[in-house]
């Protein structure tokens, strides 16, 4: 082998007597990372800090003059109706979270621990309910269980001859049920992941002492995953109180006022953003408080969920009981996915949806109207795609850079960037949107009605998803992977391009797709920020529901569903079957 070891590059110090270099020499070694750090800091200040700070400030300002006042808080809580909305939100959150846990925990236990048949099917149901935009389920249930013409109620009256409806979806119970039918996958994912870590030996140990399957499940398996159940409960509770779409579709006709719909009313003409800001504070405080409390609670020693102590895992033999569990899973699937989507698709092809399925009721008119005649339908689809794509790209880019800088400890105080990137996690989307409205809608920034304000809001809102994803991805690439490249002669950027980036490609693509998909269905952040020409699909769907033409509404829901399915299909093809369900 010929010797190619060239002589060393120019010396750093002239001789070994020279210990330190001049300023020029030092500048030569300043890495561009400092500049990137500064840019990221500015971006995060713009996306996260400024809207929140402005929201807080505005809640103490007099409209027009900007003078300090407490009158916004008085206005926000001075009326019983407004306070009731807050109570309604909390009650609804508790009800939905409880229902979700009740729906999902048996399913999770069945799939993780038992020999129940149809596990693949159950998995499909969970996946289906999870990827379906929440307001589609709401629209489906409006068609299913409207008090007069709802399909379920018509069937009930026909079958029993009863006068009243079986179930009125426009009620508090209806609202809670529809939300739970969409939220239960979160509980399922949390609890199943925890159950998967328990070795069969834990249960064997209880069995050998005389406990039967039922007692073992109650006294051993479930208590072990108690932190996961609690965590999921909190997440569903917080999602529910921050949810706008379903309460707007079902709650407003039912005259059930919750915080989010009340906030929306403050934005009706004349817009009272100061009062809205004051009114949003409890929502923000509750969310922050509960997430902090949960962290503290779970951090206590001994309450940390089981870490993967391997062990053999055998499914528990249930005998005939497995069919009962299977029925339960099938029922949940029927209620959460099959029935609402079925009626949605049926209505979308119907001349009059109440007339049921028959050939003379079949028409393509609804789709034709949306695609060729409706002035906003195609525009809103295009808007949604490019807003979401831009936001996903920005979020993943920022998240990746922050994650890289934080994990490689490239700058002091890098952790502060990580904190800012994760901060929107505790901010309800609707609060974020009001913050963006307060900070950037009016002059001097004057972004109201532009695409930019929506894209920025989406970016900020979904930054934590992208960050969690990127941080996990960067963690999987051992720093030595890069160092190995550097010591062989490649600079930092070359090493990132040739070693790190190829290793991260798949994970980043997955993260991008998740952000893109959740952005395409985002309603609460969008509805406060859209202008006449920047409506998104989700906002248009809400507009259509207010117009009351259910066939066209269903057809638009059908389009939304089709787009979601295509996107999820692409994601599963490129990244893996469970890419949406992975916990990062």
């Amino acid at each position: 082998m010929p010797d190619t070891a060239a002589s060393l590059p120019e010396p750093v110090g002239e001789t070994r007597g020279t210990r330190r270099l001049g300023l020029l020499g030092r500048l030569r070694h300043v890495e561009p990372v400092a500049l990137v750090w500064l840019m990221l800091l500015l971006a995060l200040l713009f996306l996260v800090v400024a809207p929140l700070a402005k929201l807080f400030a505005v809640s103490f300002e007099t409209q027009g003059t900007g003078e300090f006042t407490l009158s916004n808080y008085v206005a926000a809580y001075g009326r019983a109706r407004y306070v009731d909305a807050l109570v309604n939100s909390l009650t609804l959150g508790l009800a939905s979270a409880t229902l979700s846990v009740a729906l999902a925990v048996p399913m999770a236990w069945a799939v993780s621990r038992t020999d129940m048949p149809g596990k693949g099917l159950t998995w499909g149901v969970v996946m289906g309910a999870f990827v379906m935009p929440p307001y589609l389920g709401a629209v489906g249930w409006m068609l299913l269980a409207g008090p007069n013409s709802g399909a379920v109620n018509r069937f009930w009256r026909w079958a029993t001859g009863a006068e009243g409806p079986l179930f009125n979806i426009f009620s508090f119970e209806g609202l809670a049920l529809v939300i739970a039918l969409h939220s239960f996958p979160l509980v399922f994912i949390f609890v199943k992941a925890a159950l998967d870590l328990i070795s069969s030996e834990m249960e064997d140990a209880a069995n050998i002492l005389g406990a039967g399957t039922w007692t073992t499940m109650r006294k051993v398996s479930l208590p072990l995953v108690w932190p996961a159940i609690l965590g999921a409960f909190v997440v569903v509770f917080l999602e529910t109180i921050a949810l706008f779409g379903t309460p707007a579709l079902i709650g407003i006709p039912a005259r059930i006022n919750v915080v989010t719909t009340q906030l929306w009313q403050f934005f009706e003409y004349p817009v009272r953003v100061e009062v809205a800001a004051a009114y949003a504070m409890p929502l923000l405080l509750i969310t922050v408080g509960m997430i902090v409390a949960q962290k503290l609670f779970l951090a206590r020693k001994g309450f940390v969920s089981q870490t993967g102590k391997g062990g053999e895992r055998r499914p528990i033999k249930l005998g005939p009981w497995r069919w009962l569990l299977f029925t339960w899973c099938a029922l949940v699937g029927l209620l959460s996915v099959v029935m609402p989507l079925g009626i949605l698709v049926q209505a979308s092809f119907a001349k009059a949806w109440g007339r049921g399925i028959s050939l003379d009721n079949f028409t393509l008119r609804n789709y034709q109207h949306l695609i060729f005649e409706h002035e906003m339908a195609l525009t809103s689809i295009w808007n949604t795609v490019w807003f979401s794509a831009s936001a996903a790209t920005m979020a993943v880019l920022i998240a990746l850079l922050v994650a890289y800088i934080v994990q490689r400890r490239l700058v002091p105080f890098g952790d502060a960037l990580g904190f800012l990137a994760m901060a929107p996690f505790v901010i309800p989307g609707i609060v974020m949107a009001i913050g963006f409205y307060a900070a950037y809608a009016s002059p001097p920034v004057a972004l109201y009605g532009t695409a930019a304000i929506i894209i920025f809001a989406f970016t900020a809102r979904f930054l934590p998803i992208a960050y969690a994803n990127s941080a996990a991805a960067v963690r999987t690439v051992h720093p030595e992977m890069e160092e190995a490249a550097r010591i062989l002669g490649s600079g930092r950027l070359h090493a990132i391009a040739h070693v790190t980036a190829p290793l991260l490609k798949r994970a980043l693509l997955g993260g991008w797709l998740i952000v893109f998909i959740v952005a395409t269905r985002e309603l609460s952040a969008a509805i406060f920020l859209v202008g006449p020409r920047t409506r998104t699909m989700s906002v248009l769907l809400y507009d259509l529901s207010e117009a009351g033409n259910f066939e066209v509404l269903a057809a638009f829901g059908g389009l939304l569903l089709l787009i979601t399915l295509v996107l999820v299909g692409i994601g599963m093809k490129l990244v893996g079957r469970d890419f949406m369900l992975r916990r990062t």
Binding site: T4, A5, T15, R16, G25, A484, I487, L488, G489
Partner: protein, 357 residues
């Protein structure tokens, strides 16, 4: 030109001094191990040599040029070094041949030349038949060989190894020790090898630098470290030993009724009276049933066996000399069986003792 020198090299994280004024010089083609328990600063030292960590004080010099000093560090990619990492850091997205050829391509060699040298080095590490494989398809030992090939193929000025064998199972580890030494004999690359395993360091190194709490305690050839440890830490860390408190007076060293000429231990010992610490290896002490014929300069004392453990290759006895409460570890061959409580005789060989600090 590959002479590598560390001068007063220091690394502190806030107040924690991890590496404390290390001085070490490697001659061209020399193989030196940094040996010490975890947390002694050996890896940090290696990473300062590689340029991944900036020193807080002192310098790293190569061929008379300063390459690391506080405030100015020549980046790793310009040091003409190679490194083998604890995790191997084989890039999973590249084949074996692409991994090995990475450094050569960076040196802008023609493709044919890259291919030829990759094939050549893969033969040397016995991996020629696996050049098209991806790392996930290789065993741990094979990945290690790829890491070796990738580091050596660029003919580095200095080769750095960071606990390269710690993730391998015992048999493979032994095999790779010899492999690493064989490659060193073949290419004579100046090498710094970090390990906490003394057998590894002994098998591979020309010299070993024993590190403890950020400092180098002793640098010597492996057999000298064993026979003549200079500090209490080195005596205890390399092999097993008895540390005996003794007295030096009038040119004689004495403990527990044993006395002998100090010059037998160390010719340079002066006659000043003071307490000293002796390291006496368990296998340097003779163990007898009856009093042995006293050889010149080899003191003999009676004692009692108080404990014993059979380790397979040896017996491990604990013997308490009469009229003393000192407990001495003594090893004996498997057939030499003594019961606990048995009276025995111990014979010391001052030439095999070392005076430690």
């Amino acid at each position: 030109m590959s002479r590598l020198s560390l001068r007063g090299l220091t690394k502190a994280y806030s107040k924690m001094v991890v590496v404390d004024h290390i001085d070490l010089t490697l001659n061209e083609g020399e193989f030196v191990s940094l040996l010490g328990p975890s947390g002694c600063g050996k890896t940090t030292t290696l990473r300062m040599i590689a340029g991944f960590v900036e020193p807080t004080d002192g310098t790293v010099e190569m061929g008379g040029k300063v390459i690391s000093t506080p405030g100015s560090v020549l980046p790793p990619e310009r040091r003409q070094m190679s490194m083998i990492f604890q995790s191997y850091a084989i890039w999973p997205n590249m084949t074996v041949a692409e991994n090995v050829g990475f450094g050569l391509k960076l040196r802008n060699l023609p493709a044919a030349e890259v291919q030829r040298r990759v094939a050549e080095i893969l033969e040397v590490v016995q991996m020629g038949h696996l050049h098209g494989r991806y790392p996930a398809e290789l065993s741990g030992g094979q990945q290690q060989r790829v890491a070796l090939a990738r580091a050596i193929v660029v003919k580095p000025a200095v080769l750095l190894l960071d606990e390269p064998l710690s993730n391998l199972d015992a048999n493979l580890r032994e095999e790779m020790r010899f492999e690493i030494r064989r490659l060193h004999n073949e290419f004579r690359i100046t090498t710094v090898y970090v390990t906490h395993d003394q057998a590894e360091a002994m098998a591979t190194s020309d010299r070993i630098a024993v590190m403890h709490a950020g400092r180098i305690e002793q640098v010597d050839a492996p057999h000298l470290l064993y026979t003549k440890p200079k500090t209490r830490f080195v005596a205890g860390f390399i092999g097993r030993t008895n540390l005996l408190e003794a007295k030096l007076a009038n040119g004689e060293i004495g403990f527990d009724g044993v006395a002998f000429q100090a010059s037998q231990v160390d010719a340079s010992l002066n006659g000043l009276s003071r307490p000293v610490l002796l390291s006496v290896r368990p296998q340097s002490i003779g163990l007898y049933r009856a009093q042995p014929a006293s050889a010149a300069g080899r003191p003999v004392v009676p004692g009692i066996v108080t404990q014993r453990v059979f380790l397979g290759e040896t017996w491990d006895y604990v013997v308490q000399p009469q009229s003393s409460c000192t407990k001495l570890r003594v090893t004996a061959p498997p057939l030499q069986v003594h019961e606990v409580g048995e009276a025995v005789w111990l014979e010391f060989d001052p030439h095999q003792m070392a005076l430690v600090e």
